[in-house]
Symmetry: C2
Subunit: 340 residues, 2 copies
């Protein structure tokens, strides 16, 4: 144990021995990247198949608090990027992880975060193969920010994306909405609320593979993170040139989340999720998709919530329990800052 | 022009329309990523050649000030990741770019940074294909932090890395040392120094390709960023199990940088560079490598600075102008914080 410090100092970012010790003891000893070069050198047979494409995506994570019921920033950083790859039809292969650490950050906290990243990567079947650490002065960061990038492979012939959506398609989600957003809100402690909520944060790679196998006509999927289900559907409807009609009576909501939203004047359709996706598939394949999804823990609550309509293009509406209809627009500003 | 704001607000990170406007007007209109999905979907014929490998790397950038003579954080973020790919023998193909923006950051500043990223990417022959933006509250960030990840391709049969270094190899750098570190130091204005320095920040992909073509036996290369030439050589010597002997009379130093170091008690061997690499190649190919490097602007100052020796393994020494020798150890703590 060369690392005797309990908190990160500016020296841990300076490029010398202190940085090397921090990286070796806290990061690479856990992630075990291949090789000792700064770059990972990799190949996967699936990437060399004719017609295969590489999928590449990135996300930064700035969630506060860093640890919350059901996860932490590390789990989020792995799941978020795995999910961005998965909803495009890619099999996630490799992740990078870059850490911007505030001077004074507890090293024990970093170890917990790194541990949960490694555990989540193992669950998702991906490897964290390369990384970086930087240290910023106290008051110029906030504990730790993590940026992951991910590489995956899309096999030949798999073409999913919003432009493939057709009127009549079923709209499916994999479980109750808004748990992540509501959990973070409660965890911040500003509200003196005690609600028994846990973030939905989960990797959705296996779920997407199962849905694709069961419903080969699956048109498009998107994870419902910042901006929630409403923002994902608005983007997809606009790209597809269709309308989407949701049925309020079908929306899966936990009573605690619905209650919290009512209390605070929030709309659960805009609450962030970190383990929820919305997908479109031909109506005649919807039951097959649902059955396959429900066989996995992260899809247990899968259900149909609405339908694609011919138009007006880009419009998302909610048919209410009372038979009315309201517009579900794009979120204008912020609902909750630093939710992921 | 939907974006009427002059400064970034928390709403620009919330996942709604304000975020979409910021992303479209400031980022994607300039980077023009392929497709409208969150993930880029890509393929390059070179990646599908038998024996090809994918190179993958990431770095976060937290330099202060954000703009400095010779570059800005955006140029740095592109060059840094391009160079990490290049020194491993990869041809850089695609970059991701993730921005953590502090509330209140000037949008005009973001536009300048994005513009310099696009220009640098074009020079390097890479595309910025995917990205992300997050906003953190005032006082929880510092203007903007950028994390880039890069994917490149290493052709079949190209095996470079520190473990290939052999005693007798020539040690080559591509120009004067320490300009970036000294420039940042002077630009911070703490020193009331007026020195006429410019960062060496540059993409080294073309230079590496030229060196590899001219000296096919090239063993290993590394960019001399944080921790400078000394740290890069210490790492390489340890991995290779060789010693490295530098000749002080051969070290290329700008008089202004040498003077600044003398004044401040800094050692130029530890100053950060952002457009400098050190490479090892068989002595009988050194002249070919030098000629090829000198033909490019970023290699104009290429020269031999020392030699690999049989041992002791991992030891780097400097033979001084007076005939003595001193140990060039790994940097212990920090020399300059937030240099990149």
């Amino acid at each position: 144990m060369a690392l005797r410090d309990t908190h990160v100092t500016m020296a841990h970012g300076g490029g010398g021995r202190a940085m090397r010790d921090l990286i070796e003891e806290v990061f690479t000893s856990v992630f075990q990247p291949p090789g000792s070069e700064d770059q990972a050198r990799l190949m996967d047979a699936a990437l060399q198949q004719p017609g295969a494409r590489l999928a590449f995506t990135t996300d930064s994570f700035v969630v506060t608090p860093l640890e919350f019921p059901g996860g932490d920033i590390g789990k989020l950083a792995v799941c978020g990027t795995v999910n961005d790859l998965a909803v495009g039809g890619a099999r996630p292969l490799w992740l990078s992880a870059a850490f911007i650490i505030e001077e004074g950050c507890e090293i024990a906290l970093l170890r917990r975060i790194v541990g949960s990243m490694a555990a989540e990567a193992a669950l998702a079947g991906v490897r964290i193969v390369t990384g970086d650490t930087k240290v910023v002065d106290r008051g110029k960061g906030d504990g730790v920010f993590i940026t992951t990038a991910g590489v995956g492979v899309i096999p030949q012939g798999r073409e999913i994306g919003a432009r493939h959506i057709r009127p009549g398609d079923a709209v499916i989600v994999n479980g109750v909405l808004g748990d992540h957003g509501a959990t973070i809100l409660a965890a911040r402690g500003d509200l003196a609320l005690s609600v028994d909520l846990v973030s939905d944060c989960a990797g959705l790679g296996h779920l997407m593979q199962a849905a694709l196998a069961a419903a080969p006509g699956l048109r498009a999927a998107r994870d419902c993170t910042r901006g929630g289900l409403a923002s994902a559907l608005n983007e997809m409807a606009a790209e597809a040139g269709v309308a989407v009609e949701l049925d309020e009576t079908l929306l899966p909501l936990r009573p605690e989340v619905a209650g919290l939203c009512e209390l605070l004047g929030l709309d659960p359709l805009y609450l962030a999720n970190e383990g929820r996706l919305v997908l479109f598939c031909p109506a005649d394949q919807a039951e097959m998709a649902l059955a396959a999804m429900r066989a996995l823990p992260e899809g247990r609550g899968a259900c149909i919530i609405g339908e694609a309509k011919p138009g007006p293009a880009g419009r998302v509406t909610l048919r209410t329990a009372f038979g009315g209809a309201r517009l579900v627009d794009m979120l204008i500003g912020e609902q909750l800052p630093r939710i992921c």
